[in-house]
Subunit: 200 residues, 2 copies
């Protein structure tokens, strides 16, 4: 015996959510039907509104329902610093640190095996943005510390250095609260190589 | 800095899903916006259809978009056996075992502290259903093996015994694949008390 057609459709559709498999989707569908139909209808409405209303900022390419997002509109930000990240989620992560420069959001990272070259992830737009603004002196490459993220950062760094800009990379090392015996060898090697004198 | 209004609304609405907190909702919202807008729109549509179209079966009270669900409509089922469960999800769990009798779905379990008495969980409707059908000889009480589930089963058993019906309770014991040293004392005590002779 299986679920009725409408419930089965709902379960299938819920699996579009990241990290939601068959069992979780079943639990979600039945719980919404049993406990919170008005919440589910509200969710349906905001989903539609967001999918139709949210686009990308024309300057930094983060998700935004306005043509220019409110970070790009903010005139109190530092126009000499540009932070390049892989996705919109990273913008929010960097914002939490108190960084108050500008952003540019790539479409992921270079991945030649998947056919993702510089054009696919938006590197020409990044260069155009830097040229257009004209005030950036340093570009912080905050792509993820993965093989692809590193390759992307190095590729962009080379292009920028040729143009006489400072390209910097976020530091690798021990995460706060981590333990030496648990961290991987690569990270520890980076932490040792990047050691700094303690000033007292 | 925070998310733009539409994205923030979407994140809030996603938290209606069971087991989804702030971080997961953020990840879901941004991933849908970045990767699968058509899937998200399809989800919005099926959510609306299901919330508006799915009701409860008038006989067994499970979730169904028809007045009488397809289990109740099925004429090949055993009309002498009725299985009483706490919710629609339990119907699907029992169906997996190959059980082919009838069902009745309570609205949860008795919980006097939350003001949930026999009427609130649908016990009068259960008795009416048994009377109306007239063919049930055994009622299997498959409420959860929790304190409230046990209390609910015992309460119903008493009512049914007064009416001359056989009320049975699903067995408690070791789950298959479990380990004696890991199982709790109460379960092990039930497993010992419910031991059965091995026939060779």
């Amino acid at each position: 015996m299986s679920f009725s057609p409408l419930i089965r459709q709902l379960i299938d559709s819920l699996r579009v959510l990241p990290g939601v498999g068959q069992k979780t989707a079943q639990r979600m569908a039945l719980q919404l039907l049993e406990r919170d139909r008005s919440g589910a209808l509200r969710l349906a409405q905001t989903l539609t509104q967001a999918m139709e209303g949210v686009g990308h900022c024309q300057q930094c390419r983060t998700l935004s329902e306005e043509t220019i997002c409110h970070i790009c509109q903010d005139t109190r930000r530092d126009d000499t610093l540009l932070c390049v990240v892989e996705g919109p989620m990273d913008v929010y992560a960097v914002e939490q640190t108190g960084f108050r420069g500008r952003y540019f959001v790539l479409k992921g990272h270079l991945s030649p095996l998947d056919g993702l070259g510089p054009e696919a992830i938006g590197i020409p737009q990044l260069l155009a943005r830097i040229e257009q603004q004209g005030t950036f002196t340093e570009v912080i490459l905050a792509t993820n510390p993965t093989v692809e993220g590193e390759a992307t950062a190095h590729y962009i760094a080379q292009l920028l250095t040729n143009k006489g800009l400072i390209a910097s990379r976020i530091a690798h090392g021990m995460p706060l609260g981590g333990e030496l015996e648990l961290v991987d060898g690569g990270t520890l090697a980076h932490a040792l190589a990047g050691r700094r004198p303690i000033s007292i």
